[in-house]
Symmetry: C3
Subunit: 280 residues, 3 copies
């Protein structure tokens, strides 16, 4: 049986780090289908990684194992963990990097500490647990999922991340920039939306039960970032002229500010964490 092991790190692809993780995996699980989700998380940006995992895990086949290594506390007392939830396995540091996906799964969670030396590299470096602890654990889980409980002692609770900024008052949603993509599209925390008609959108807030589900008109919504305001939410880039800034709903349901064939983040000088406002 071929299982997917999905890798998500901040290691970049310039070094041998990702390659040696894959080599370690293939020692243990020779037939693994290894998928690079991304290795370009901003160094040590645990929250950007949590958002990337949220948006990717649900497209992976049942039984997939996620090996998520964004780990500024490597070598410290933070736990290395494996989590079993919703038919997936997750492996990573217990620093919140898994928590958006686990909250989204909203189902039973079993967690164990990765302590059993039998399922680790022979010697453990202080700085590269991706190679020595996380990759071997992921490979063993792909090869023999029933090993889960043998990886180490059970953990009652795992670290959860505070959700990103998302608040609603006086017909205004305030969110923040979660990710800027390769094209310069600006992905925000305002979502998830789905279209319920040509001009009608429904918001089912993904982060907070305190915010009500909302119905809104795409045509009359105004989106402001820095001092730039976009009027209305488009369906696709081509609906505006080349170079023009638009708002749309991204492929995972989040509000996105982009530009037709241009780099919106560069044009508007936007950074991760910047505030975004949507007026209904």
């Amino acid at each position: 049986m071929t299982r997917v092991i999905a890798l998500l790190t901040d290691f970049g692809q310039e070094d041998i780090y990702v390659g040696t993780m894959k080599a370690m995996i293939l020692n243990i699980c020779p037939t693994a289908q290894i998928v690079d989700i991304t290795h370009a998380i901003q160094p040590q940006n645990v929250r950007e990684a949590a958002f990337a995992l949220l948006n990717s895990y649900q497209h992976c086949p049942p039984g997939a194992v996620f090996c998520v290594v964004v780990d500024p506390g490597v070598g410290s007392e933070r736990h290395a963990i494996a989590v079993n939830s919703g038919g997936y396995h997750f492996v990573g540091p217990d620093n919140g990097v898994l928590s958006y996906a686990l909250a989204h799964l909203a189902t039973d969670i079993e967690a164990v500490k990765l302590e059993n030396p039998q399922y680790q590299a022979e010697s453990i470096s202080h700085s590269f647990h991706g190679r020595d602890i996380f990759a071997p654990a992921a490979a063993h889980l792909a090869q023999q999922p029933e090993l889960f409980a043998a990886l180490g002692g059970a953990l009652e609770t795992t670290v959860s991340f505070p959700p990103p900024e998302l608040s609603f008052a006086r017909q205004r949603l305030i969110g923040e920039v979660m990710h800027i993509d390769h094209f310069g599209n600006i992905i925000t925390s305002i979502g998830a939306f789905h279209w319920t008609g040509d001009e009608a959108l429904r918001l089912s807030p993904v982060w907070s039960k305190a915010i009500p589900a909302l119905d809104l008109s795409a045509r009359t919504a105004n989106i402001t970032i820095h001092s730039h305001t976009v009027h209305g939410i488009s369906h696709a880039y081509y609906e505006v002229a080349p170079g023009e800034i638009l708002a749309q709903i991204d492929s995972n349901g989040f509000l996105e500010i982009g530009a037709n064939q241009d780099d919106a983040a560069d044009r508007l000088d936007v950074q991760l964490g910047d505030k975004v406002m949507l007026r209904l």
Copy 2:
């Protein structure tokens, strides 16, 4: 049976886009051998992608499926298509991105529109057909090639790209810069050439029947780009001193201007589309 699915996009590798396409593929075709041809096409540069496909498809195993997503018109009325030609399957937007490869194959072409929701993601986003339409279609074709006709209605003709600039008059070939590689080598539209002797080259124009096949002496050819002229066509970088600019025939038969252990494009300040002249 293991089939190759080759991906060619402008998505970069910083985001989760390529990874989620692979996840979608493995849901449908768990044993696919997925090959990244490149994800670094200039954003929305359909023609650079068409040239990259031309130069790579022919090295792939028979039965390979190409999933080519450079798609500035995503969400518009442009068709999403699959093409069957020469023992390969191609999947992508009908915007010309497949046309250089299809012209080079020069054989029968069957084309269908990707319309059948049975072979698409459950819900289709407006901005990421790579994940929702193209990856599933490629995976289904790899898993069950005979599904081709079931993907959607037949298409009489597909969009063809105008060929790149290549003209011949008064013993001068005029072409343009098609690609600048990682090393700064400048790949032009002037080709394809093959060596017929130590100093003898034969040109069999790949783009235009209007240009005659030509025999020329590599030694006496002069190549001019911007105000720089190179005398003669070399066989290999090492034939000139480190840092020196040279012309040679690239690995796919196109005229290339490079530099021995240096970045020719940077040195000569060359961009895509710049003109190149070869005097016989």
Copy 3:
């Protein structure tokens, strides 16, 4: 049987070069598990590639085939070779790129020239032996390891690289910068170390028999690079304040200068080849 073919080049991932090498491999060995060790070696930096291979090969499964293409002399008289050593196969140009790994393996070596056209592409370009010679040889070795002797004539000796700078005198180790990673960590030639206690390190020099094995106190060692001195060798980044420079032992046993959640190479303006001094 699934075999690992590990690729290590300076081709970058922007072009179709790596993808076409993989396509060539899958024509010959359809079930290969292809692993990208890295493609971001500095263009033509044979020594950086040799160091990357040294630090990665030992984590790969037995029987792995390494296809190492950093090849400034492509098209010249340098040999293309395959080497059989320690249960691995290595394929690459005979320019020293394999020599650190082979010296580390320290076992019997068999070498052959890649001359047999039967195991090469049908036509051989002058500039892309990665596609036309090395990838096919690696794939044939993965598919049928017993073909080794059929690849070409035996070679008595292969090119060995001079080891990096590492000298010891008057209680000072002098080394040089071998690699700067994605995070800005500075990896030096001073190693390999392993911890023998909380504050005790043992050096077993990897490059030179002329340097004695040494025991040292991590606490009292001073490390100087440019005009910056670090006092003591830490176990992990988190032991110093965010932004602070530290020295530690990297995951392969080499002395590393890094910074907690910061880019040490940028902060200290360090380049490959810069000198580093460790005072015991």
